[in-house]
């Protein structure tokens, strides 16, 4: 049968090169970022002091940039290119591949320059680079290279998609490609904000071409980008959960149409919500803050849909194998399969992660947790566990599928061990962060006993747990790097690129779902609704601009 032949085909060599380059770059960033993270944990608990004039905040900048921006973005673009190649014709068009390489070179160059500037202590501004702290112009230029590189890759994927659509008039786009296009569209729309901030505010100001910077405008532009950024991390994990996991467990995709709908909702509601990161700030009216809180809660809905779909595909599969009782189907899931197990632990941890997110975004309640370690604990569950473990889970089949190798039972075992160590380390570290954050311990702060104040003394035991958890996590990073190496030495063979089939019961998605002009218009309208008046308000701020400060 046609289907069988198709799936037994080896992955296109030129495409695998592009994908693997992205994945390896991502894991190098993970390793360096992991070293920075380990040292931070040890400094914050007062176990070590940094030698040779390395600063805590320098490490923190490196950790944030390399983990949150570089590891994620490189992995995501590599993964999405592989999915486009796999589901839209079996290989990338030459132009799409060229754009992918151009993107890789730009992002890679930007990353190197940014890392050098951080190491030279010229850009100790953390990954949020809030003005009026002023980094070297080279750091800002480096960020432009990274972002423009991602746009090139996005253009490559959209090119591939449009060509496919032209050749397949009237057909529904494969789910993987559809979701990838939404993810990249979300990214492009979101990065416009940070691009405007960097190109029109930070660069001219850091070069001394303009005297002052509008601080609130720069923060608002950053968070216009900063929240969709977290959905840019999450959506590729959702692609794995929706499309790959059903195939891996041997089941079917529960509902193709609902999966697409949830991605559309993410596209609509994950952008006009940046104010929920600025709830404690002056210069934005309570009404506009609350409006964006409402929009933030709307973006929870697609996740509620996702939870149902995932459980449903598990249950339907389990029952088809004869599972009995309310939860009997759980036993039928392939627990020994690392391609399932790592992402499953990610899903599980998304439950407390989502609960924390609701708390953070709850308007005045944010005062309890704002800028405390609770927030740090929260995103170490979302991006650093749910997303990261899913990415690890993807890596276990992606590398063999790209290189024509076959997973072995031993590899599955190494993977399960790595996952458990990660989960254990994160449970300790993030758990302690959540609790001590509720007590008020600030995030992004080096060790301090606050002149022996009893409040700060009560936080210290939690710092020890964080340091132990952080050390365990670093061991898990090393295990993952080892596993990555082992993946390249697996025996030659064939490993499937798992693309789920839609349940026979599911219906064809409505045509409306691919009317991009329509959806992007709604996105633009929502953004204008949520931002126009507050931004005019900010622009009218009569205090003028601020000069730059180097405070590190």
């Amino acid at each position: 049968m046609n289907t069988v032949q198709q799936s037994e085909q080896a992955f296109d060599k030129k495409d695998s090169k592009l994908v693997i380059s992205h994945i390896i770059f991502a894991f190098v960033a993970l390793l360096i970022g992991g070293i920075a993270g380990l040292l931070q944990g040890l400094v914050r608990s007062d176990m070590i002091q940094l030698p040779a004039g390395i600063g805590y905040y320098q490490l923190l900048t490196a950790h944030g940039v390399l983990m949150a921006l570089i590891f994620t973005t490189f992995f995501i673009i590599g993964f999405l290119f592989s999915g486009m190649s796999k589901t839209l014709g079996g290989k990338l068009l030459p132009r799409a591949r060229t754009l992918g390489w151009l993107g890789f070179i730009h992002m890679g160059f930007g990353t190197l320059v940014a890392t050098v500037m951080i190491l030279l202590n010229k850009a100790t501004v953390l990954y949020t680079f809030y003005a009026p702290m002023q980094a070297s112009p080279f750091f800002y230029f480096a960020l432009v290279f990274v972002v423009v590189g991602t746009w090139m890759s996005a253009a490559g994927m959209i090119y591939q998609y449009r060509y496919w659509k032209k050749e397949h008039k009237g057909e529904t786009t494969p789910l993987t490609a559809y979701m990838s296009i939404i993810t990249m569209s979300l990214w492009v729309i979101a990065t416009l904000g940070v691009a405007v901030e960097v190109i029109f505010q930070l660069i001219p100001w850091s070069l001394g071409w303009v005297e002052g910077i509008n601080i609130m405008l720069s923060r608002t532009l950053f968070w216009y980008f900063g929240h969709p950024l977290v959905y840019f991390w999450l959506l590729p994990a959702y692609i794995c959960w929706y499309v790959m996991i059903p195939k891996i467990i041997g089941g079917k995709i529960f509902s193709d149409a609902l999966a697409r709908l949830s991605f559309i909702l993410f596209l609509l509601f994950s952008i006009p919500v940046g104010f929920h990161h600025q709830l404690m700030e002056p210069g934005i009216s309570p009404f506009w803050k609350f409006l964006q809180v409402v929009l933030t809660f709307l973006v929870v809905i697609p996740s509620l849909m996702t939870a149902f779909s995932l459980f449903a595909s598990f249950e339907i599969y389990g029952r088809s194998k004869g599972a009995k009782g309310l939860f009997g189907w759980f036993k039928y899931l392939p627990w020994k399969d690392i391609r399932f197990f790592a992402p499953f632990m990610g899903m599980l941890i998304f439950i407390p992660a989502g609960a924390g997110g609701l708390i953070n975004a709850s308007n005045q309640m944010n005062a309890v947790v704002h800028n405390t370690l609770f927030v740090t604990g929260h995103f170490h569950l979302t991006v650093a566990t749910s997303v990261t473990l899913t990415f690890f889970g993807i890596t276990y089949w992606l590398i063999p599928a790209m290189t024509g190798r076959k997973l072995t039972p031993k590899m599955h075992k190494l993977g399960r061990m790595q996952t458990w160590v990660w989960v254990a380390g994160m449970a300790m570290m993030s758990g302690a962060m959540h609790i001590v954050g509720l007590f008020g311990s600030p995030r992004r702060t080096a060790y301090s006993d606050y002149n022996g104040h009893p409040d700060a003394a009560a936080w210290e035991p939690y710092y020890i747990i964080m340091a132990v958890g952080g050390t365990v996590l670093f061991i898990a990073v090393l295990m993952m790097i080892y596993n990555l190496y082992k993946l390249f030495t697996l025996p030659k063979g064939y490993e499937e690129y798992p693309i789920g089939e839609v349940s026979d019961l599911a219906e064809k998605p409505p045509k409306l779902f691919e009317r991009w002009g329509f959806w992007v218009s709604i996105v633009v309208i929502l953004i204008l609704m949520a931002y126009t008046i507050p931004v005019i308000d900010i622009l009218n701020n009569p205090s003028g601009g601020s000069k730059g400060f180097v405070t590190w």
Binding site: F297, N363, H370, P442, S543
Partner: protein, 157 residues
Amino acid sequence: MHIHKLEKIWLVFGIGMLGVFLLILGISTFSYGLEPPSAHQAVNMENLYDTPPFDELGLNKLNDKEYEAILTAYVFGFNTGDEEFTVPVGSTVHFKATSPDVVHGFEIPGTNANMMVVPGIINHVTYTFDEPGEYLILCNEYCGVGHEIMQTTITVK
């Protein structure tokens, strides 16, 4: 589009839950005055310490057990005037703060007093101190190499 009956119930329940959360937040925000700190007043950074109210830092008594605390957050400390704040038990204190340099944070751990201190704008937060003690005030926004030493106290007795 077809949706399973149980999924419909789940979505109605979930959306209802979010709606109830928002209702609780909205009513308490706008009817009971629990807005997050959102002051709008601009102030010139350049000659900040000549500009009211920052030309006279420290506590102003407004009423019996009601005070206004004028302070700045700077690299790396809190400027509270000649001495650290002291108020009687049961006092309501309106903190008004800005920054002459970079963005800082203002947080009293264990309370809801938590706000961003942004240069060029004055931010406010109000807290009533019903328990005696020496409350820590710290900076919770990274502001530079001495960020972790930024602190002051408010003594309630």
